[in-house]
Each structure stands twice: as C-alpha cells, then as structure tokens.
C-alpha cells in the first residue's frame, strides 16, 4: 500500500502533505501531556520490528503486520498512534526507500490518519457491540484491523484516481480485492497479539471506558455493515480474480524486498514459515476466514440493534 514516488500528481502530493502535516501538528498538541517520547519511540520501533515477523495466515500463505489498529489499541490514543505510524512511514521512506518521499504525505494520510482513525472509531464501537468486556478486545480489534486495512487501501485508490494515475474501474477492485486478503491477515495478527497480551499482561490493555458518545455506536455500527457490504458487492467479481493473480506477485515482491541490500541488509529476516507461494487452498482458506469475520459483525450488530 506504500505509494512510490511519481505516482501521484503534484496537487495531490501537496494537498496530502499539507493535510498530514496539519494533522500531525494537531496530534502533538492533542496528545496527553504525560506521554513520554521514549514510549512513543519504542512503540514505533516495536511496530516496525514486528512487521519483520512473518505471520502464517492460512494454507502456506503468510503476511506481516501493518500495525495501525495494534498501535491504537496499545497506545490507547489515536493522536499518539498517528504520530507513531507516521514515524514508521517516514523511516521506511527514508531508510528503506519503501514509499516515496513526495508520496509521504499521501501514505501518512492513508495509513496514519485514515487507517488509525477508522481503527479507533471501529474498535471502540465493535467492542461495545460485543458486550464491552476486555476479553472481547482481541476479536473487536481483529475485525477492526481487517476493515481498517481495507479502508486505507480504498483511500489509497482514491488518491491514485484523483491523481489521474489509475482509472477507477481498475484500481479500486484490484486494491480492495488484494487488501481484503491482507486485511484478514492483519486481523489475525492483531487479534492474536492482543490475545497474548491479554493472557500475560491484561493491565496494559485499555478498559472499557469508551470515549464515544452513545449515539455514535449505532451509527457507526450500521455504517460498518453497510460499508463492508457495498465494498464486497463492488469488488467481488474482479477482486477475486485479481486476488488470485496478484497474490503470487505480492509475496514474491515482499520476499525480494526483505532480501534487498539496504543498509539494513543484515536483517534478512526469513519467515517462520519458509515455504512461500500460494495455493488454491490458501486463497480459499483466507476467504473463508474473512467470510466468518464478516458474518460475525453482521450477526452481532443485528442482535444488539
């Protein structure tokens, strides 16, 4: 999802840079006074390092963490999470040539702002819909992570479309299609990590003192279901094909990226699951996972509505 240099038009680059810089400035003024720089920095470094761990998704495919939802949950503050994810993107752009310099504003916009804020709104809402108990957090965050990944991808597609770089009928289904799969992976990782934290150190996770107004819950809940439904409807037929076609590419590319001799070349972190490549069963498996998550949201929101 990292847009490289040269793929967005100058107006879009300028606009997103201004917006992102503005939001970042706001974030610094809004974040809690007692948030310590080393805590943000180490959480950021943690998210970066965690992205290096290959996470088996299903049937031989594996993904890695993106981190927006995880950052929101463990930091408990969307402002700080925006700062943290933006720092990750900045360092990736500068030190790994991953994501463009001119596209940094756009990438921060997609992942650090859209991704983070969608996560924040959703995770609080879904957790409430699920009954609010702390032990529901992993599930709530898992579903959120999947959806926020997709929404960041949608935002990314929109920027490419506005830039005139890609036509709508091509990029939207392709991006959402692939990112639905990536999102499932993201959901699984985020959920599992939170389950680990819940088991070892529950005090670190936020309690259910939702900062959302009451009326926001049903509204976002409905939007959530509607959004996911329409997304699926619009992208399904092409998406599926694209997914199958691209998945191989993605893994190939990601694999090469890690082996690339940047100054960090020492870290040829090979995955736990070394067999790379995909299989029909892998695609099917992930689709089933997503279907499950999807119906669960739908089902639960109906019941509480």
């Amino acid at each position: 999802m990292h847009i490289p240099d040269g793929f967005i038009s100058p107006p879009v680059a300028v606009m997103t840079t201004v917006i992102s810089a503005g939001v970042l400035t706001l974030s610094f003024s809004k974040m809690g006074k007692d948030v310590k720089a080393p805590v943000i920095a180490l959480t950021t470094a943690f998210i970066f390092a965690a992205q290096m761990i290959n996470f088996p998704v299903a049937g031989g495919t594996s993904g890695h963490l993106l981190g927006a939802t995880l950052a929101v949950v463990i930091l408990g503050d969307p402002w700080v999470a925006t700062i943290s994810i933006s720092t990750v993107l900045l360092i990736q752009a500068l030190l790994f040539a991953d994501g463009g310099i001119t596209a940094l504003g756009a990438n921060i916009f997609n992942m650090g702002i859209v991704g983070v804020w969608v996560s924040w709104l959703l995770v609080t809402t879904i957790q409430r819909l699920l009954g609010g108990a702390k032990k529901r957090l992993p599930l709530a965050a898992g579903i959120t992570a999947a959806i926020s990944t997709v929404s960041a991808a949608v935002s990314c597609s929109l920027l490419l479309i506005i830039s005139g770089t890609a036509p709508l009928n091509l990029v939207l289904p392709a991006m959402t299609g692939t990112h639905i799969l990536i999102g499932v992976g993201e959901g699984l990782i985020t959920g599992s990590v939170l389950r680990y934290l819940l088991a070892t150190n529950p005090d670190l996770l936020p309690d259910d003192e939702s900062k959302l107004d009451k009326w926001l819950v049903p509204v976002i809940g409905t939007l959530l279901v509607a959004g996911v439904l329409s997304l699926l409807a619009s992208s399904w037929p092409d998406g599926l094909e694209k997914v199958a076609e691209n998945l191989g590419f993605i893994h190939l590319a990601e694999n090469v990226r890690v082996e690339v001799p940047t100054p960090f070349a020492d870290y040829q972190i090979s995955g736990i699951n070394e067999q790379i490549g995909t299989s029909i069963s892998g695609v099917l498996g992930t689709l089933i996972c997503f279907g499950l998550a999807f119906f669960m949201t739908k089902f639960i929101s109906r019941k509480s509505a």
């Binding site: 490289p4 240099d5 040269g6 793929f7 680059a13 610094f28 310590k36 720089a37 080393p38 805590v39 943000i40 920095a41 180490l42 959480t43 950021t44 470094a45 943690f46 970066f48 390092a49 965690a50 290096m52 761990i53 996470f55 088996p56 049937g59 700062i83 720092t87 360092i91 500068l94 030190l95 040539a97 463009g100 310099i101 001119t102 005139g164 770089t165 036509p167 091509l170 990029v171 699984l188 990782i189 599992s192 680990y196 934290l197 070892t200 670190l204 691209n246 590419f249 590319a253 090469v256 990226r257 082996e259 690339v260 001799p261 940047t262 100054p263 870290y267 972190i269 736990i272 699951n273």
Partner: protein, 220 residues
C-alpha cells in the same frame, strides 16, 4: 574529490527526488535530463552497481504491479520516473555507512518534537530488529515447526513479548534520560556548515526551476 557531509547528501537526495517526482507527466525530454542527473549522482556517490541493480530489480516488480494496468506510454513514463527517484534514494542509502542512519536522521528538517521521536526510534530500531532476529533464531535452534495454528501462536507470542520488552525498556530509557537531566528538550548538536547550506540553496533553486519548466510555465 569533494566530500559531501552526510546531511548534505541526504538533503540533496531529497531535493532531487522531489523535483523528479514532480515533473510533468509524459514530458519525456525533461525526464531524460533527470536520468542524466540521477546517473551523475550515483556515480558521484560511488554506488556499488551490482547491489543497486538487484535492488532496483526488486522494486521494478512492485512498480509494474501498480503501473501496468494503465497500459501504454503512461505506464512507461510513471515507471521510469519512479525508478529514477528510487535510483537517487537508493544511491544515497548505499552511501551511508551501516548504523549511521540515525545520524543521518538528525539532519532532517523536522520539528523538534518529531525529530526527537524519529531519532530515538531509529536508535532502538536496531536493537529491536536484532532481538527479533535472535528470537527467531533461538526458536529455530529449538526446531520450530508445526501446523499453522502453532506457528501463528508463536509469531503472536514473539510480537507480544517484543512489545512487553519495548515497553519495559521505554520506561528505563526515559528514566535514564531524566537522571541525566532531560527535561523535555533533547539536546542535539547539529553541525551547521554555512558554505554547504549555501550550496544547498543554489542547487535546490536550480533543480526546482528545471522541474517548473517542464510545465512550460515560462515559455508560454
């Protein structure tokens, strides 16, 4: 040969990348000028060609994935433009000695608060990456294998325990800073070389006007 400081190299690379990325789409003649500039830059920095090629090859896969659906000339232009940017940035990266990245980060024109976070992040990135690497190896030394449920569980456990450790360490690092008199502002000493700054300004004006002229603003 003239030896440029790390900061100047970083800033120059950034300016070159920005001006390349902003050339008017499908204006091939200006693109060629930038190809030449980029090649000079990479020769000047003595970039190891073999590594650079490998690296660009890898990026090409990603780029084509994004651009190819566009078809035709446009895709070609976008890809070449993007590749030049990558060439410039990667030439810079390969010229930085290992572990000096957080020193390079110091030279970024960023607001103070952000800079502090970026530097601290850069500093601990190395440590955490090493810890991940060590955890993975120690898992392998203990013959990690099994079904994907088990592997998922282990991956999550590694990420989770890395987080707990980062948090512990964040607390101690903060305390260590406070004990040595930290009071909210990070004392950073940045070498400010006047002649380098002057050179930087002149060069940025030059490349930026080149980019502007790709839009034929002054010709019409």
């Amino acid at each position: 040969m003239l030896k440029l400081s790390l900061f100047l190299r970083l800033r120059l690379s950034l300016i070159l990348v920005i001006s390349t990325a902003l050339i008017k789409t499908n204006n091939w003649s200006f693109l060629f000028i930038y190809i030449l500039i980029a090649l000079c830059w990479c020769i000047f920095l003595k970039t190891p060609i073999k590594i650079l090629l490998k690296l660009l090859g890898a990026e090409l896969i990603l780029l084509s994935l994004m651009a190819l659906p566009l078809g035709g000339e446009k895709a070609g232009f976008l890809m070449v433009r993007s590749l030049i940017c990558l060439l410039i940035m990667n030439s810079f990266l390969l010229s930085v000695p290992k572990y000096h990245l957080s020193i390079a980060l110091k030279g970024l024109p960023l607001p103070k608060k952000m800079q502090e976070i970026v530097i601290l992040t850069g500093e601990y990135l190395e440590i955490l990456l090493l810890e991940i690497q060590h955890m993975e190896i120690s898992a392998k030394l203990r013959s990690l294998n099994g079904n994907s449920n088990w592997l998922r569980y282990i991956s999550a456990a590694m990420i989770g325990s890395l987080y707990l450790r980062s948090l512990d360490r964040a607390q101690r690092v903060y305390d260590a800073m406070v004990i040595r008199g930290y009071n909210g502002t990070f004392p950073l000493e940045i070498d400010n070389n006047k002649s380098e700054n002057f050179m930087l300004i002149i060069l940025s004006i030059m490349v930026m006007s080149l980019t502007f002229s790709s839009y034929k603003i002054w010709i019409n």
